[in-house]
């Protein structure tokens, strides 16, 4: 689908089982009927089950990334840089 604001294509991402459309141009987010309620419910369950998480450490705001960047825009660094991934990327850093 097309973004109602800037007309760029929108991509679907899954957040905790909720399908979210995000615009590849302006990064705006579109929620279907009931999705906001689903997210609110998930949030409520989370805050009942555990004390609120500490704010994520962020030394500086994430730098801008292009619209075609990774869904996390390169901002995500939450443990998915495993050893294998790191080794392969280490090789890529030194290749033409």
């Amino acid at each position: 689908m097309q973004c109602p604001k800037c007309r760029a294509p929108m991509h679907t991402y899954n957040r905790n089982g909720v399908q979210i459309e995000q615009c590849s141009g302006c990064r705006g987010i579109f929620l279907d009927y009931g999705e906001l309620e689903s997210l609110t419910r998930l949030e409520a369950q989370w805050s009942q089950a555990a004390p609120p998480p500490p704010p994520a450490p962020q030394a500086y705001p994430a730098p801008p990334a292009p619209a075609w960047g990774a869904p996390h825009g390169g901002h995500g660094h939450h443990g998915h840089h495993g050893h294998h991934r790191h080794k392969s990327f280490g090789h890529m850093l030194f290749s033409s």
Partner: protein, 313 residues
């Protein structure tokens, strides 16, 4: 991959030894082959390195690139002699040995030093006789090899991303801007400390050096960041150091992506093309890092470069 034919490697090793012994007659003879690839065979003998350049290197172009390196010893490692010699039909040059970035410690990569060297290079006046930077030509060659590699589900993704690029980025038209000195193939293997171990960092490898679009030199780290591979902290350090050193490839403030977008797309496609061709040749699946670069190619096809530039603030 084809390695150098026996006589070339043997001859190159002998030349490196002779050049090293001419510099230091009491030589401890620490000899090693540093690289043996079609695009360059490099051997070390003690403090001297001999490089056989790619087959398509021409004496005139290589000499003007070597002369430039000799003129900017604070930016580029200067050759021992700015004139290449012929060995078994290959052009050979001699260099002092410098300590490379430790491949096992990429987290210790000298991002600031790399950025400052690039900013200085981009701000240096470009001599009239210098050929064009070969970045787009190398990307085009990687894509040509991908087309010849054989069937793979990722080939179509990479070719679609490649097709969305403007002709200059595919080496099918002149570059829009050829007034700036560029390295043309920046990655972490292109930095050495000289004198070795504790000297300042310098850029090496003049084969792709020339005039062109300077954002190309920033585009590999930019592409790694965009693909979610390079942590934002490392990218910020690199970009900030480049801007603080007065580098002209991106505006001093604000969103750098209108300038970086096309080269970063091209280098993402080049990296994906090489990764897929290698995976096909080895008969193995793409690993997670390689897949993330192919995924970026998929997303590119849905966002034309012009659109991204219009959205820039």
């Amino acid at each position: 991959m084809n390695s150098a034919p026996g006589p070339l490697l043997a001859g190159l090793t002998a030349r490196a030894r002779a050049a090293a012994h001419a510099r230091a007659p009491a030589c401890p003879c620490g000899a090693a082959t540093l690289a043996d690839r079609p695009d360059g065979t490099v051997v070390r003998h003690a403090d001297t390195v001999a490089k056989a350049h790619p087959l398509d290197a021409t004496p005139a172009e290589l000499t003007s690139r070597l002369t430039l390196a000799a003129r900017h010893p604070g930016i580029l490692l200067p050759p021992l002699d700015p004139t290449p010699v012929d060995l078994h039909g290959r052009l050979v040059t001699f260099w002092p040995y410098g300590t490379p970035v430790d491949p096992d410690a990429p987290d210790a990569a000298p991002w600031e030093a790399a950025a400052v060297l690039l900013a200085r290079l981009h701000r240096s006046p470009a001599p009239k006789d210098l050929p064009v930077m070969r970045g787009p030509a190398k990307a085009a060659r990687a894509v040509a090899r991908l087309r010849a590699a054989g069937p793979h589900p990722a080939v179509a993704s990479v070719l679609r991303a490649w097709a969305s690029l403007p002709p200059w980025a595919r080496a099918e038209a002149p570059m829009p801007h050829t007034g700036t000195l560029c390295h043309g193939d920046l990655h972490l293997g292109q930095l050495v400390r000289h004198p070795s171990d504790d000297g300042p960092w310098l850029l090496i490898d003049v084969d792709d050096l020339g005039v062109g679009v300077p954002a190309w030199d920033l585009a590999r780290p930019a592409a790694w960041y965009a693909c979610g591979l390079l942590p934002p902290g490392a990218w910020t350090r690199f970009l900030t150091a480049y801007r603080e050193a007065g580098g002209p490839a991106v505006p001093a403030e604000g969103d750098p992506w209108p300038a970086l977008d096309v080269p970063a797309r091209a280098l993402t496609a080049q990296t994906a093309a090489r990764a897929v061709a290698k995976a096909v040749a080895a008969g193995r699946p793409l690993d997670e890092v390689e897949q993330s670069v192919v995924d970026a190619c998929d997303r590119m096809a849905t966002v034309p470069p012009q659109l991204v530039q219009e959205h820039a603030k």
